[in-house]
């Protein structure tokens, strides 16, 4: 199928883009188009006006700050592929590059944007869950000014974020990897590059003696919005064994919504969440220990 007619504008400054977006209540932002164009072609969406932000070079920037706690700031026009290849991003918050490898195929990542993926708010997408796990934020602008939305106020429901219709997301902020912590992520998909049946990312903190001090995991494809769960209490005495990992998975399950669809039954999804929690938390622990060793 083909998209329904729409008016089109391709502004060259963000101010022009904001004015265009505010001019029509049925206007929509076009970033990489890797989610929006299929929706238009299938006529699941029919905006009156598309504001193409691909001419806004100022939004392409990827900025890494190591001062204080450190942060990776990804501009709205940075493509998944550019973020994934950025050495500074990989060093300061390795979970970003790790997770981007799971997002679609390289050809889709060449065009799709990381910020677009976040504000599209697909609960099956990797980057919204990663932002949730790391407690990041998104900065948005409208003709009325700028605001920063913490990730816990960002995801409202399926494919729904808390952006107002006249707001453009200009950047997403991912906090840097904290000292003494490690990260990992993994997913199970029907085919490599497909949306996952279940995906998990984790951050685990360890002390100098190798004891677990904190453990958090985030899940995608396990409900209407991405979910982050604190699993620290499963690691009694800071110990990490198969039993502790199994307890962590059971701790997470009540927070998740394993649903049935044509790809998987609810039971199968829950089982994937168990297996992936054990696997990913252990990998994040190993990563934390390895980082402590290289730093000392």
């Amino acid at each position: 199928m083909k998209p329904a007619p729409f008016a089109y504008t391709r502004p060259t400054t963000i101010e022009e883009a904001l004015i265009a977006l505010a001019s029509d209540p049925y206007a929509k932002v076009l970033a990489g188009g890797q989610s929006l164009v299929p929706l238009l072609s299938m006529r699941l969406a029919a905006p009156a006006l598309l504001v193409d932000i691909n001419g806004l070079a100022e939004l392409e920037t990827i900025h890494v700050s190591e001062a204080g706690e450190g942060v990776v700031r990804i501009g709205a026009l940075a493509r998944h592929a550019a973020v994934e290849a950025d050495e500074d991003v990989r060093r300061v918050q390795p979970l970003i590059s790790n997770a981007l490898k799971l997002v679609a195929h390289p050809t889709i990542r060449n065009r799709g944007t990381t910020v677009g993926s976040i504000v599209h708010a697909d609960a099956s997408a990797e980057m919204p869950a990663v932002l949730m796990l790391l407690d990041g934020s998104v900065t948005v602008r409208s003709v009325d000014g700028e605001r920063t939305i913490g990730v816990h106020d960002l995801f409202v429901g399926p494919l729904e974020s808390s952006l107002a219709p006249n707001e453009i997301a200009v950047s997403a902020q991912f906090p840097a990897l904290a000292e003494g912590t490690g990260v990992a992520c993994d997913e199970v998909a029907r085919r490599h590059g497909d949306y996952a049946l279940c995906g998990v990312a984790a951050v685990v903190g360890v002390d100098g003696a190798g004891a677990v001090t904190s453990a958090r995991a985030a899940y995608w494809s396990m409900g209407d919005v991405p979910v982050a769960v604190d699993l620290t209490e499963a690691f009694v005495g800071g110990r990490l064994s198969d039993e502790h990992l199994a307890a962590a998975a059971e701790l997470a399950l009540p927070h998740l919504e394993a649903t049935e669809d044509i790809h998987a039954t609810a039971d199968y999804r829950a089982q994937l969440a168990r297996v992936l929690t054990r696997r990913v938390v252990r990998a994040a622990y190993d990563d934390a220990v390895a980082r402590r060793e290289t730093n000392s």
Partner: protein, 172 residues
């Protein structure tokens, strides 16, 4: 092709395809895949799923593989586009990736082939000497319903040989 409603605004767009400029008048909603096929008249770019999954429509945008069915033509005006028609040698003989597909039987019906050829052309620029695993990874975003992929993976490795100048006659 998209039916143009009488009231729908048409835009003047210049597409640069395989080094040649094409001035076309199209509605904003014209997908790049349709603009190439219907407005420019280059039917080498194939359309399978029209939602980004199959890879048949893959072209190069400033040298980088992208799905033509997920772009609006108006959005890439003035940028360098390369379609499968642009992969032959200047004298009209087959380019190295095309030659490799011919030698290794990398195609049967040929529907998926344009998307593989463009993807592999760019992939071998990034990684001129792929292992067999890397060759598979390179084409993992493209679907083929005929070949079973074995000969496509072989074609990737053969194309790398041809590009790296390892002679034409060394195929068993």
């Amino acid at each position: 092709m998209t039916q143009t409603q009488p009231t729908e605004e048409l835009l003047d767009v210049r597409l640069i395809v395989n080094g040649a400029s094409h001035d076309i008048r199209i509605p904003a909603r014209r997908l790049l895949s349709d603009a190439l096929r219907h407005d420019v008249g280059l039917t080498g770019t194939h359309v399978g799923c029209e939602h980004g999954v199959c890879g048949a429509c893959t072209i190069l945008l400033d040298g980088t593989p992208v799905r033509a069915c997920l772009l609006f033509a108006v959005s890439v005006a003035g940028q360098e586009l390369t379609t499968v028609e642009g992969l032959a040698n200047p004298d009209g003989t087959l380019g190295p990736v095309q030659q490799a597909f011919k030698e290794c039987h990398g195609l049967q019906c040929g529907f998926c082939t344009p998307g593989f050829l463009t993807t592999i052309t760019a992939g071998l620029k990034d990684n001129p000497d792929p292992t067999e695993d890397e060759a598979r990874e390179m084409v993992s975003g493209n679907l083929c319903r005929c070949t079973g992929y074995q000969n496509i993976a072989k074609s990737v490795c053969r194309a790398a040989e041809l590009i790296n100048g390892q002679g034409k006659g060394d195929q068993e």
